[in-house]
Symmetry: C2
Subunit: 297 residues, 2 copies
């Protein structure tokens, strides 16, 4: 295939394919990662895995370079890229750790079709076309997915014993791991919305004591890596998924004191699920490893 | 005009039009209500006003018949229909008052285009058509509205001094008034999503003490008026706006203990913004007044 005017050979994946590879990026789902990551590691590659297969293993750091760069050490050969919603959340709030200790986090998400892959994006477009034009063929339903045209629904992953679905449990566990706060009380409600790309999150962040002022929050976010503050109250200009699409930064806005709790602030975040929520973060981990001298360029 | 096979005369509104009218329904916005409601009251009509004009006046009850029927007394001539988001929220949680005293409420909304009227619904459809088909004409933008096709945005009402927008402040104030809990701490984040009809709400409800069990919450909601529980964890079947559209009841699901606070429960609600959020509630107020004998049928 041609990428940036240069020809590259795409080969069928085999265990032998990892010979001489320094960094292997995996982005084909947990099943494929479980099958082939051991061979990549055995061949001496450093593996950066976008799937959920190894994320919660104690010996696998979950690195978001803007948030926990120190989690990456030289001996780490297998590195996992966190869940997209967790990454966007962590980047959005990490800059506020200097203002006080987090004591509770509540998030309701507005997740885009891209989180379900190209198939779900295509399905949303086709279902919407069919809704708007009865002569347009209705696409085959995706198993387990409610009607998607002009509709939203609770994230269609299995509900676990605790009443939270798989996505919500991932967001909770991975956010704790990334922030290095194993006991941080977190609640998540994950909802899929009819947006093609970029996830949004409504966040209540409680501190162990009175919340910092809006001015201090804004200043801390302004200097936080990977964050762009979009918060113009006079113009009513705040983050939207279309504004966040194709952007590397997480957009943060609606910064305000929580009227229901003097220890809390409210935020609204949008981040490109395919970039910072996945591919960009994977590349940033490789860049961080290079920068730290763990991989020779 | 013909309504249900019967011819009706539609007349231009004038102050004289209210002679002999028992119940006058107003549903043409706050400006029109402020202009003509006094004449309707002077002519002896009982007024049920769908606008925000009089909602927070101390002498105007904000009646949601399933929630606070006692707020309607014989001497009340002017009755207001609350904000759609507040009504749906109150109906969804009112049945839980028997299980403990509410101590805090946090809501993030997913509000549909219908809340912005027929014009906004049409705009969403046309903007989506233009997005999917570049040959389709792009509709004229609605002033102050971000791109709406496959996008969502913070509710486009002015941001007040406290950092909350006008819609959020309405939801907070009206929910307190409907529940009769003037000091209930409430936080709201109101977001417009690309859904045509029916609002959704992600709710964190805290109690003054340990939260009731999921079983008790489900039982209380099962017997709550105006509520249909849609909460099948095994089938991953929960409320969606398309499921709630054209239904009188508010759908409640995702019932679970809040993992971040032993005193809280989490819920996800959907309600038809045009029915229970507006027209249906107005008619129900009239029915309640008839039932109480305040209006002779």
């Amino acid at each position: 295939m041609i990428f940036r005017d240069e020809a590259h050979t795409v080969e069928l994946l085999s265990e032998a394919a990892f010979e001489g590879i320094d960094i292997a990026f995996f982005s084909a789902g947990a099943t494929r990662s479980r099958e082939f990551v051991p061979a990549a590691l055995a061949a001496g590659a450093r593996v950066i895995d976008n799937s959920s297969a190894f994320r919660m293993r104690a010996d696998v750091p979950l690195v978001v370079p803007e948030v926990n760069p120190d989690a990456l050490t030289e001996s780490d050969r297998l590195l996992a890229v966190a869940n997209c919603t967790a990454i966007i959340l962590c980047v959005g709030i990490a800059g506020l750790r200097t203002l006080g200790r987090f004591s509770r986090l509540i998030v309701s998400t507005y997740q885009s079709a891209s989180g379900g892959g190209a198939q779900m994006m295509h399905h949303l477009e086709e279902a919407t076309r069919a809704y708007l034009d009865p002569t347009h063929p209705t696409p085959a339903p995706i198993p387990g997915l409610p009607e998607y045209a002009f509709n939203l629904f609770s994230h269609n992953t299995p509900i676990l014993e605790n009443g939270y679905n798989d996505e919500e449990n991932k967001v909770i566990a991975e956010t704790r791991k990334i922030l290095g706060m194993d006991d941080l009380p977190i609640s998540a409600t994950c909802v899929r919305v009819p947006v093609l790309r970029a996830h949004s999150e409504s966040v209540t962040l409680e501190f162990d004591g009175p919340a910092p002022s809006v001015e201090d929050v804004r200043a801390a976010l302004d200097s936080a890596p990977g964050v762009t503050v979009v918060d113009d109250r006079a113009l009513n200009h705040f983050p939207t998924p279309r504004l966040a699409s194709h952007q590397n930064d997480v957009l943060v806005g609606r910064i305000r004191q929580d009227l229901s709790n003097p220890n809390a602030v409210q935020l609204f975040l949008c981040g490109d699920q395919l970039l910072k929520g996945a591919a960009l973060n994977a590349v940033q981990i490789a860049e961080l490893a290079l920068e730290k001298g763990f991989i020779k360029s």
